[in-house]
Symmetry: C2
Subunit: 453 residues, 2 copies
């Protein structure tokens, strides 16, 4: 039996015998009896187990330390403590007793300490909440797209091409590089130079032109040496791609899917979100509920810059037409509109080659979603569906059009207006949990000089 099922239906179990395995989270042994904070990890809060000398092994049990694994047989009874119910044990079997040097004690540990104990930190209340929210949010994403007729596709992780021509990549090889004098890629596993993917978008486009609506949800990689709170070398991305959808529809889907996921997490990870609201980010529930009920604003990049200039506010970075916007600008804009803001039609020179060129010759049909207290949470664009325009843009950027012939051909064979977007899963989790460091929403984070466990 899982504790979560017991707690969900606790009234039905009143005065009935149950049998459950789990761990001691806290222990207050007294002379004649004792209280155990008990959890099997399927719930945020656990349940109290009360025992007294009526159990066979009272002495042994009363010496058990935090972290020990036990099997409890007992009766569910109304509690006199803070919870409604507790278990009155008739037997406690010791599955393993945990030693004193167990690092996870019932006190507040610093997040830095817990990162060093990454293989044990899932057991803490904080990471129980974070990783269960992660799981529930992942399911919410699948659930939204599957309900809406999207096909889930697995785009390749190992790739011989570089999606945006940008982004530093990890090389993948089976060559014996330590003893090789000369690197001969024809002898490498794939017979050529290969890397880890930075995005599945281009491959996703091939499927959108087959199934209309598709999405990816998989790991992506950036070999950036940035040691910040929001960068990891390995992270998960969701990349939906939709045929016959223009930028406006793209924004509608971005808004709808984000609200769905946030609402789903609020509804299906109640205890976890409540815990995070209490101990990590005060006001978290309010923030999330507000997002779900808000209407997202849509403004062009030009309107955004005008607004920033007209504000008269002194920014560290001066807002300029034709240029990117800074974090402080994002913050101002979301506060100004008091909610999420889509900024669309970006200067083409600061955006990727595949984006739909607008008629003004200066902008592309790209969009960033800025969310209060989160910054950029999603980015998308309508894709250039015109063969000649795409080819010219690639030539302007000195891209290898030969190896990208298949991508160009999508514009010859059944081409149509299509759009898509990307969402970094860990950014979403930072927003959903209130935890501010990406290292604390990933089980075993991979960052510069860090690849433990």
């Amino acid at each position: 039996m899982d504790l979560v099922d017991l707690i969900k239906n606790i009234k039905e179990y009143e005065n009935k015998e149950i049998n459950i395995c789990g761990w001691i989270k806290n222990h207050r042994p007294q002379k004649e009896f004792g209280f155990i904070s008990f959890n099997d990890g399927t719930t945020q809060n656990g349940i109290q187990v009360f025992y007294d000398k009526s159990i066979d092994n009272f002495e042994d049990v009363s010496h058990l330390l935090v972290g020990s694994a036990i099997k409890v047989i007992g009766i569910v009874v109304p509690s006199e403590g803070k919870d409604d119910y507790e278990i009155k044990a008739s037997s406690i079997e010791i599955l393993s007793s945990c030693p004193e040097d167990y690092p996870i004690q019932p006190k507040r540990h610093t997040r830095e300490f817990l990162r060093e104990q990454a293989y044990l930190r899932p057991r803490t209340n904080l990471f129980t909440a974070v990783f269960r929210v992660r799981s529930v949010a992942a399911y919410a994403i699948h659930s939204y797209f599957q309900k809406n007729n999207y096909v889930y596709i697995h785009t390749p992780i190992i790739t011989a091409s570089d999606c945006e021509g940008a982004g530093q990549m990890f090389q993948v090889t089976t060559l014996d590089i330590e003893n090789n004098k000369k690197i001969d890629y024809s002898k490498d596993f794939f017979g050529k130079k290969t890397s880890l993917t930075v995005s599945g978008q281009l491959q996703a486009e091939t499927c959108a032109l087959a199934y209309k609506k598709v999405y990816t949800f998989g790991p992506t990689f950036r070999a950036e040496e940035s040691n910040t709170k929001t960068h990891a070398a390995e992270f998960w991305m969701i990349e939906p791609e939709i045929a016959f959808a223009d930028l406006n529809e793209d924004m509608t889907i971005m808004e709808e899917s984000l609200k769905y996921v946030v609402k789903y997490v609020l509804d299906n990870a109640k205890d976890e979100i409540k815990f995070l609201d209490s101990f990590v980010e005060k006001g978290l529930i309010n923030k999330l509920e507000k997002l779900v009920s808000s209407k997202f604003t849509r403004i062009t990049h030009e309107e955004c810059i005008k607004l920033l200039i007209d504000s008269g506010k002194k920014f560290e970075f001066e807002p300029k037409y034709g240029e990117d916007i800074a974090k402080e600008h994002e913050k101002y804009i979301t506060e100004y509109f008091n909610g999420p803001v889509f900024i669309y039609n970006w200067p083409k020179d600061i955006k990727a080659f595949y984006m739909k060129q607008n008629e003004d010759g200066k902008t592309v049909a790209a969009v960033d979603l800025e969310v209060p207290e989160a910054g950029e949470l999603m980015g998308g664009s309508q894709r250039e569906e015109n063969y000649d325009k795409l080819l010219n843009r690639m030539k302007e950027l000195n891209m290898d059009t030969k190896s990208m012939e298949w991508y160009l051909n999508l514009r010859r064979f059944g081409s149509c207006v299509h759009s898509g977007f990307g969402m970094g899963f860990e950014r979403l989790l930072i927003y959903l949990t209130g935890v501010d460091n990406i290292r604390d929403v990933i089980l075993y984070p991979r960052t510069t000089k860090n690849c433990e466990f």
Copy 2:
């Protein structure tokens, strides 16, 4: 509007106007009218569009070739053809006309040809069925585990350790290997030698001892140079891990989850499975339904060998106690029991270090699931939860116990009986679709000397 929704509720749309975008799959233009096999890719079967001279651009439309993208406005009317309904077009907007050299024509293409056209093959009926089954099966897996209180975890892709000491691995690096005289891993991105994961199991165990029930579903990698129908260098795996579960419970979960997924696909990809039953594997539906309703047999490895020997059958490989079994043996056993068979308690020397050592000193609590017409579909084991036994086994095998201290420590801090299993997602798909080559159930397969798109 998605075609799948229109078809699902077609009666409600009778005599109503609809507006839908999609592609021409086949076209039979006549002098005064024409028939288009139309699909937007959200369904297996599509719908027929009828048009005549009443549309403005009759001439242009009647010259459209297969693959062209169109937007149809029309009325849903009862059909005189093989389907119940068709669309009588009042307007057909040409979104893009497809040229004659479009490789995907309405005829049978060989699978070899389609592999070369991998970016277009998702548009064929075969791959529409395969990749939608892939998507539905993936969702079924999430759905089963989430409903049963499992936490979905993302174990790392880049790793500094090698799960089973076996399996050739891909190296991951940011060193400039072409121009580096001496390889200095302290200068590599992670400051050490790193590879692509071959399994997330060991990391999953750390989470099972926190949340009781967890599962992974992500890509894994093997740099094996085997050019067979069932090997790919990059494939997806599902690895559940369950605390407080012994090998028997493990088998129960394996059986239950497999049946759930197969049943879910039968119920939720009806048209796709019907197509595959007709054109790829006659009897597919029967095979899958039989699996769902069967009771899986459980026999020990020793019983299995005895059965093979006692059969008196001449095998190419002679069955032997203490050794692995061959494909022909698997086949005999599943035919003998006329259904899936769990073979458990394997000779320890041919199994992994982490498996629970049985009291006989010779076997470990490992299990393989053999399925008729599929062979081994899942493999699992109870894990050794005893610190000393695990340590001794690792020493026997000359493993580096220092770098695995965290894994060993799981046996010091809250250790308990726990078990898990792994299922290769593509193997399952080969079974579900009847397609016999792993290259045809992966969007862009990665195999020896092959990394296209």
